[in-house]
Symmetry: C2
Subunit: 458 residues, 2 copies
Amino acid sequence: MKRIYSIALTTFLTINTIQAQVNDSITLRVIFNEILKNGKCYSDLDYLSNKIGGRISGSPQAAAAVEWTKQTMLKIKPDTVYLQEVMVPHWERGEKEYAKILNSKSIDSKEVPICALGGSVATPTGGIVANVVEVRNFEDLAKLGRKGVEGKIVFFNRPMDPTIISTFESYSKAVGLRWGGASEAARYGAVGSIVRSVTLSQDDYPHTGVMGYNDSLPKIPACAISTNGANLLSKLLKTDSTLKFHFTMSCQMLPDVKSYNVIGEIKGAEHPEEIIVVGGHLDAWDNGSGAHDDGAGVVQAIEVLRAMKALGIKPKRTIRAVAFMNEENGGRGGKKYAELAKQNNEKHIAAIESDAGGFTPRGFGIEGTSAIIKTIQAWKPLLEIYGLHDITAGGGGSDIEPLKEQNVTLIGFVPDSQRYFDYHHTAIDTFDKVNKRELELGAASMAALIYLISVYGF
Amino acid sequence: MKRIYSIALTTFLTINTIQAQVNDSITLRVIFNEILKNGKCYSDLDYLSNKIGGRISGSPQAAAAVEWTKQTMLKIKPDTVYLQEVMVPHWERGEKEYAKILNSKSIDSKEVPICALGGSVATPTGGIVANVVEVRNFEDLAKLGRKGVEGKIVFFNRPMDPTIISTFESYSKAVGLRWGGASEAARYGAVGSIVRSVTLSQDDYPHTGVMGYNDSLPKIPACAISTNGANLLSKLLKTDSTLKFHFTMSCQMLPDVKSYNVIGEIKGAEHPEEIIVVGGHLDAWDNGSGAHDDGAGVVQAIEVLRAMKALGIKPKRTIRAVAFMNEENGGRGGKKYAELAKQNNEKHIAAIESDAGGFTPRGFGIEGTSAIIKTIQAWKPLLEIYGLHDITAGGGGSDIEPLKEQNVTLIGFVPDSQRYFDYHHTAIDTFDKVNKRELELGAASMAALIYLISVYGF
């Protein structure tokens, strides 16, 4: 009897599991259909990129982006939309930067494209003119020492490695020079620093990005040079090592400004206290339109809410779309969000960030317990038909990272990475570089994963 | 003793297998490195797209493309480079097409973008002016019958389905109207046909493509209208069903022209008689530059040869890069290739085609025995680290399809499909739409698979 009961129970559970899988599969199909047919994220991104544009923290455009995000979320009619106050750094680029290479005889000059790195001090009026010393890394620099560097401009010229398949991996290996190069150069008496743009493209667009100063060292102006400019400078240095570089920048750091994270929330029907975050960052560098970085992530997060509401899905757990402020040069929005979550005793079960561009989906990178990673990997049969093959350990995103100490499972949405660093932090990170379907598929991929987490929890 | 021997043998074989896998893994890494660091396919594509451009069969540009491909292959110094003569259709678009919508009061007209479908006859001089009847499919058309269609222009307006994830699948469901629409319309007495461009983009670029006539029915002019144009025409028809459409086209079919497949070959070191083909098609529609379709496939096939030679790889089996002529409007190159292979008693073990654009790699689609599909799927651990997750049954390509009756395993290279039909057969299938790394990764993916086939055979 017991055995029969046991078989009956097993059969019942198996049938129930199969039924649940079929239901999940149908719901995921419905979510993808809704977003691919009626998605608003592409037109939202058009507005955010083209009507607001670059929106670095503290700028009028950042304020406009906050207001637009709030209004856009309100139109979806989630349960609540609110702002989370956060003080952010306010750095301004000032007038367009200018640079030229002067040969040692001062009989010829070549203009090259540069831009100030975010956080850099300005040059004196009229700019800096100095000899240049080219290095590949901090070890080269240390070998040159004060004797080889003092009074000069240090030119960090290490290309990204093209053989690494994930461009994020090669980026992370190259970007240290951008962040810390100026202070390392100043340690040996340099008067300025130039870093090769962190991209695999060979072109004329300098890539900005945040840098930081070591407060115990002199603060010297730091710029990025386009890859073509870097190649030219390197080539000229080989035959004319006493050439000079002249650059002017009028950027400045101003007092902090009040700004906001923008949050829209659908309350969970069964476990409202368990929160799933989906987000991107609202701020974007001033030199482009912040279309891929990270307008895409913001409009995708909004799209997740929109699709849930449009389909009448009442999630078991709370889903919260967050547009984080100040990822690019401070990460204050992400920190504030985590701080308030802790202060309010909120229970976050997962946070998903899209900050790798609006490209075709590949999968998710998960920072969580191995049990949770296995749970998500067990959903592969439901996700692979949408191109989500790559579900692996390791991931997250800088805005959700501060939630880690609260034991929140962090998930990075992984789109294809090949084109991202062609546009990243440049004047050409514009709306026309975003493909409608790729953007929508990204939003649908996240909505699908969030749906599954909202049903099963962890 | 026997048992010990057996264990020893098993251990030996296991170690050998592991060693082979390690060696393969290293060779694949070396192939990817070579192509990502020193690849020439991107600059080759620049030349083919920008210096030669659209190269429909029989055109001077097609002749230039043959000569360029031969010269480019010769520079690589494979064992042989040769041409395969093939007679191809010669259709010319003539002057730029023109179309406008005239309202029924003839007091207003709106110009809309159209292009002739490949193979269409011209309109009479001065064009055709007639009422329009809109249908979604052949069933709609049959219901209208001669009474509803005679003397009119039939407007086939069925959008591609955006909910299908693979755009090739949705394309294949929509393209039948383009191929057969004109003759079906003529069956009921239509004087012209318009087909909605087969794309998910909403824009002003009409998509050409081949059409065919049923010889037992009158031949009427057939054009494609841009999706924006189709939406406008459909909208206007709803309130003004007796509006007229005026279009002029001066295209014509001329006598067949002598042309060529271009072939470069590295002889196999151990099994020279076993041939592996890698190819794309050299012809491309005249209205764009044929960058993705299929300049990409041609330069990738050349790149496979180049990388093998540059790395000094001496493949066990013969590798043959083929630039097929006339895929777009006749497929004569593919047929000729298969015909000569049969005639010369050649033994092809596999043929791989790249004709889905130079986009980021996803995998391969295989048309072969289940044993061979399993063999290739067993290589997944070697291929997945390069993003090649999607190795499935079903695939091939139209140029290699004629080899099927010789029991050749056909393999279609599968890049991501989302952007392809934004450009396909339009004026904007241009070099700037191709990403260097995505193109190179595609070439390296094929080179990797071909290397494995060349080592192990089937």
